[in-house]
Amino acid sequence: MRRDAAPKQAFLALADGTVFEGRAFGACGATVGEVCFNTAMTGYQEVLTDPSYRAQIVVMTASHIGNTGANPDDMESTRPHLAGFVARDFCREPSNWRARESLASFLERHGVVAIDGIDTRVLVRRLRDEGAIEGCILSGPDADPREAVARAKASPGLVGRDLVREVTGAAALWKSSNAAADGTMTEHAARRHRVVAFDFGAKWNILRRLERVGCDVTVVRAEATARDVLQLKPDGVFLSNGPGDPAALTHAIDATRAILESGVPTFGICLGHQIMALALGGRTFKLKFGHRGANHPVLNLETNVVEITSQNHGFAVDPDSITGRARVTHVSLNDRCCEGLAQNDRPAFAVQYHPEASPGPHDAHVYFERFVALMRR
C-alpha cells in the first residue's frame, strides 16, 4: 500500500462560524449535517454503516481511527449512511488479519467526505458545552472556509425531518448468511418465531441477533401500515433503530399504536423505543448533544443489574410522559435519561440503547431472548 503524498486541505465549519482546518480524507467535496461525537474506541466501521447516523457528521473521539481498515463482515448496512466523518488521526494503512481494504479506500468508494488532523477534543468540548450544531466538511484544492461556514449555516438540521424515508429498505438486502460474522446461529431454533421487523434504518446485527434466538425475520419498509404487518400473522413485531426526529414519523407512530393494541408481542430498539413511547402517548425531546458511545451504564430498574451499553441517540423519551399504561424500566446512570420502557397491559417493551451492540459490549443481549419469551407465551 502506498502512503499518501501531500494530503489535501479540508475544513470543518460549524454554523456558528467556527472553522477547523485539517486534512482531507476519503472522498473530496462538500457535505453538511449535524455534528455529533461518538466516544466508542472501537467499531468505526459499524458506526459508518449504521443508518441511524443519516444526516450527521460524526466525530470519533478516539485518537486513531482506521487502524483495522474495513472488511465485509463488519457492515451494519449496505453502505455508509452518515454525512461526514471526523477524527484526530485517520490511519492510512490498516493492520488487521480481517482487513480487506483501507479506511481511505472504503470511504472513497462510498463517497464519504472525511477530515482529520483537527483537534477533536476542542470540537467535542464545544459540542458538549454548547450542544449539537450543524456543520460542513469542505475539501479539495480550492476549498474556501467561508463557503464551508455558509453551507453549515444553510444546513437544515434534524428536528422535524423524516430521515427514515431515506434509509428504509436497506435492511431487506441483508442476507442471513451474513450472520456468520456474529458467530454460529440457529442453535435455539427448535421452534422458529415469525417476526416482522419495521426497517426504520435497521442495523444488520439486530437481524443477526433475532435470527440467532430463533426468529424468522420478514423486513418491511417504514411506510408499512399496521394492517400490512398484521396480515403477515407475525408472532412478534420489531421496531428498529433509525435516524432523526421520532416525532416526525406520524405514520409509524400510528401503525405502532395499532399493533400494540392488537396484543402482538412487540420489541423496539432506539428509534423504535421512541416510536413506542409516542404511540403510548409519551413525549420525546432533543438532547443537548446526545448519547453516542459504547460505555454507557444503564440500570435495569426491574432486576437492579447494571449493563454497559452501546448507545446512539440524539432524541430521548421524557420519562415523566410514561404513565398509566407503561412504565420506565431502564435509566441511564449518567444522566437519568429514560433508557427503556414496557407496556403494563400488553406484551411490549423497548430499550433506547443497542442490545445488539456492534459496536459495543454484549451485556444486553438478553433482551432478544426476552422478546422470544414473550412470543412463546
Partner: protein, 1054 residues
Amino acid sequence: MPRRTDIKTIFVIGSGPIVIGQACEFDYAGTQAVKALRADGFRIVLLNSNPATIMTDPEFADATYIEPITPEVAEAIIAKERPDALLPTLGGQTALNLALALHENGALARHGVKLIGASVEAIHKAESREAFKEAMTRIGLDVPKSRTVRNLSEARAALDEVGVPAIIRPSFTLGGSGGSIAYTREEYEGRVEWALRQSPRGEALIEESVLGWKEYELEVMRDGAGNGVIICSIENLDPMGVHTGDSITVAPAQTLTDKEYQVMRDAALAVLREIGVDTGGSNIQFAVHPETGRMIVIEMNPRVSRSSALASKATGFPIAKIAALVAVGYRLDEIPNDITRVTPASFEPSIDYVVTKIPRFAFEKFPGGDATLGVQMKSVGEAMGIGSTFVESLRKAVRSLETGRTQLTGDTTPRDVVMARVGKPHAGRLFDVARALELGVDIEELYAATKIDRWFLRQLRDAVEEEGKEKCNHRDTEKQRSEGEEKSDRKKDLGAEADVAFRRVDTCAAEFEAQTPYLYSTRARGAVCEARPTDRKKVVILGGGPNRIGQGIEFDYCCVQAVFGFRDIGYETIMVNCNPETVSTDYDVSDRLYFEPLTEPDVLAIVRREKPEGVVVQLGGQTPLKLAVPLERAGVRILGTSPDAIDRAEDRERFAALITSLGLMQPESGIARTVDEAASVAARLGFPLLLRPSYVLGGRAMQVVYDTDAFRAAIREAFEASRGHPVLVDRFLNDATEVDVDALADGDSVVLAGVLEHIEEAGVHSGDSAMVLPPFSLTPEVLTAIERATVSLGRALGVRGLMNIQFAVKDNVVYVLEVNPRASRTVPFVSKATGLPIARIAAKLMVGTTLAELEIRHVPRPRYTFVKESVFPFSKFPGTDTVLGPEMKSTGEVMGVDSDVHQAFGKAQAAAGNAIPAHGTFFISVKADDKAAACDLALRLHYLGFTLIATDGTCAAIRGAGVPCQRVNKVADGSPHVVDRIRAGWIQGVINTTIGRQSLIDSHSIRQTTVAHGVPYFTTIAAARAAVGAIEGTREKRLVVRALQEIHREQASH
C-alpha cells in the same frame, strides 16, 4: 447493596520491599485503598515491611506494623489486633501468598478472620496453572497446550507434547521469576531445573510457545452484584515472549476491531466469573495470532497489579480504591466517579489520547547478567507518556525514561548490526527499530524480524520522520539566530508563548466536564488549554521519574510528604512526574498533577502556565536536581537550598575548600581528568583507592582498588561512566565505619533528625548497606563530632530543608565523605523510626518557616532500635555476582524494629527474605584479613550448636582456634565440593568474603548457588557478625510485634 456491617477492622497486607516485578505500584494501590476504607469508617491494621512507602506512614492506618511479612508475624498481629477481615489483594503476590499460608495453617479460622476481595478458591484457581487451564477449558476458552511438571522425567514427557520453543513457568512466583524460554532440547532441562527451584511448590508449567503473537491485557472490575466493567485495554508493542512488565505497552488497544475486542471483553468477564473473583479488580492477559486471530487466555491476576496501576493512571479510574470499596460490599453504581462527580463508577472509561509505557532497565549494574528479554521480568522501573496520538505519547515516554537520550533517533549504528540485533528482544530494541526505519528498512522486513505489529512499525516510522523534520527546523532557527541576534536572553524564554496546551484526563473523552486536576500536555495549534491554574500561593514539586537502582520509592515518598507539608501552610501544590507506579502520580495527592517528562522544556511549559512561587527540586533524587541550574537560568525560582550550594557540595574542588575552611577532615583525594592524571594521583595517595565518576547515580562505576592492576582495569570504566566529567580518586579508608546523617536546616539552625550507623564497613554503597538507628557502636565523642560537623556544614551551605551527610569513622576520627543538601534515600526510614515526618517539615523550611517556629530543636535518641536492610535482585540475573561494593545494586529496603539491635537485625533479615537460620550448618570462607574475625564467629556459632564447614585455609584457621570444623573441597578441587553441598541442601548459611579479582572469580559459583537456593548469605564480616549476634540475641525470645503508632507514642513519652 450497602456496605457490609459485619466488618469493622480490616487487616491489609502490603507487598514488602521493592523488588523487580513488585514495585511502588503496590504502595500506590495500598495507599489509595486504605485512604478510601478509612474515610468510610473502617479501622485499618496494616502489615508491610517496607518503610519507604507512603502507606506505612502512621497517619494512613490505625495500626501500622513494619514487620516481616511472614505467617508467624501476621498471626501475632491478628491475635493482637483482632481484625474481622483480611484484604490480600493490594499487596501483590506477596500478600496473596501470605493469605494462602494463613488459610492453610489455620490461622484465619482460628481467629475468625474473613478473607475479603478474593477467596482462597479464586486465588488458587488463578495462581495454579493447572487449575487455571482446567477452568478456562470449562468455559470454552482457548489456552496454550501445556503440562505441569514436578521433576525432570515429567518435563521430558511434556516436551514431547508441546515441542520447542517451550515456555517454562514456575508456579507461585512473582514477576515471572524463574521463567524462561527453551529454544532447543539441550537448554531445556537446565531451565526446567532452575524453574522448579524457583517455585515455592517445586512445580512448573511447560507451555506451547506463542512467541510473536499479539499480546493484550484487560483490566476488569467486578462488584458483589455481578456487575463487571473493563477499565482499560492495553496492547503490547512487544509481541508475546517478553514479560509484560518489560514490554512497551499502549492503551487503549490499537489494532483490534470491535468484533474482536468484544470477544475479548466477553472472555474477560467470563474468566472473572469462572475463577470466582466476586469483588475487585483483576488483570487478564490474552494472546492473538496475528494471521488467524486465534485468541488464547494466557493468565490472570485476581488482584491489583502493575498493570492496574498503569490502567488507573492511563484512564483516571482509581482501580485500587474501587476494588477496596466493592470488597466491603458496595456496588459499582453506588460509587461516584471522582473525575466527573456526576456519573457512577459503573462504566467503562473512554479515552481520547494514547498512553505509552516504556520499561526502564538496569543491566549496566549487573555485568554478566543476560540482557535478553524473556518471560522473567528484568526491568526496574517504567515511564509513561500521555499524548494526543501514539507518536506523541511514545516520544514523551522516551523523554521521560531519562537514559541520557531524548529522541528515538540519533544512533549511528550500521544497518547490518541493527538488523542482527532487532530479532532478539532486548532493552534497547525500540531504538534499534527506530534506527532501522531511519535507514529505510522496509516495514515488512522489520515485521518479519520483530513481529511488532505493522501498525506500530508505521507509527514508529512517522515518529522517526517527525524527529528528522524537527532537526532540520532546529538547524534553520539556529542558523537564523546566529545570523541575527548574537545574544539571546534566556530569561525571555520564560514568557515565550509555546504551542503547548494542557488537557485533562477525564475518563470520558470530554463527554463530561472533568473535576479532577490531572493533566497532560499536547502540541496543539490554537491551544485550548484546560489547565485552569489558580492565582493562589503555589509551588511546583518535581518528582523522580522512573524507578531505577539508586532512585526509587524513597524519593516519591519525599515528594508526597512535601505536598502534605506545603498544604499544611496554605500552599497549593503542583506535582510533575512521569512514573505511573507512584503515589505522587495519584491524581488526588496534589492540587494539580501534570503527568509529564522531567526535562527542562517540559517543566518550563508547566511553570509558564502555572506561575508558581518556586519549584522544588531537592526531593525527587538526581532527576529534578539536574534541572536546578537550567531552570534557574531560565528565570525559575528554586525553593530551599540554592543551586549554588548544591553545586558547592557536588563540585569536588569547591567542596574540598569548604571542608578545609570548616576545619573538617576528608579522606585524601585527587581529581583526574585523564588516565595519566589518575595514575599520578594514585601514586601520590597509595592503595587502596576509591575511584568515583562525578555526577552519577547510585555509585555507578565506583570501585575500590587494592593494586595497580585493578586500578588500570577500573579507571577506564570510571571515565566512561563520567561522560566528560572528572573522576575522583580518594584514599579508601579500610575497615572504617560509615555513618549517614539526615538533618533539617532552616538556613541558620540545623537539627539532626537521624544518625544511622552502617553495618557493612565503608566501601559498600550506602544504599546497599544495612543501617542501624540509633548507632550502636559509636562513642559519645564521635557522635558529638558528627553533630558538630553536620551543624557547621548545614550553616555554611545555607541549607533550607533536608541534608544528608555521609561520614566515615576510623580510629575515632570522623571523615566527611559526602554532603548532599537534598532528600536522601534514608528520609522515609528516619521518619518511620523517629516519628518525625522530616520531608514534610523540610517543605515548610524551604519556603522560609524556621525550625524554631515549628518547635523542632532536638530529636531525641529513639528508645527502640531500627535496622534498615537492603533487598537485591540477584536471583533475576543469574550469572551476576552478589558481592557488595561502592556501586549500588539493591532495589528496595525493609525495616526491622525491636528492643535491641540483635533482634531488630534478625527481623530485618527475615523481612528481606534472608532469614537467619536458628540451627544447621554454616559454610565459612573468608579472605586472609578476616580469618581472625571468622574464628571468633565460628566459635560463637559452635556454641550456638551449628556445624561448621570451610575450605582449606579458613578450615585450618578455625581448627587452629580450637573449633571443630569439617573441610570441604573448593570447586576447583573437584567434587564433592562446596557448591555440591549447597545444592544438596546441607548448608543453611554462608559467610563468604573476598579480596581482589581472582578470589572473586573463584568464589563466584558459591554465591550464585547460594542465591539460587535461597540460602542466607553474608559477604562482609560485619554483616556476618550482626547475623551471629542476631542468632544469639533472639534465642529463647518470644516474637513481639509493635505498631508504629505505639512505638512513637512510647518514644514521645520517653
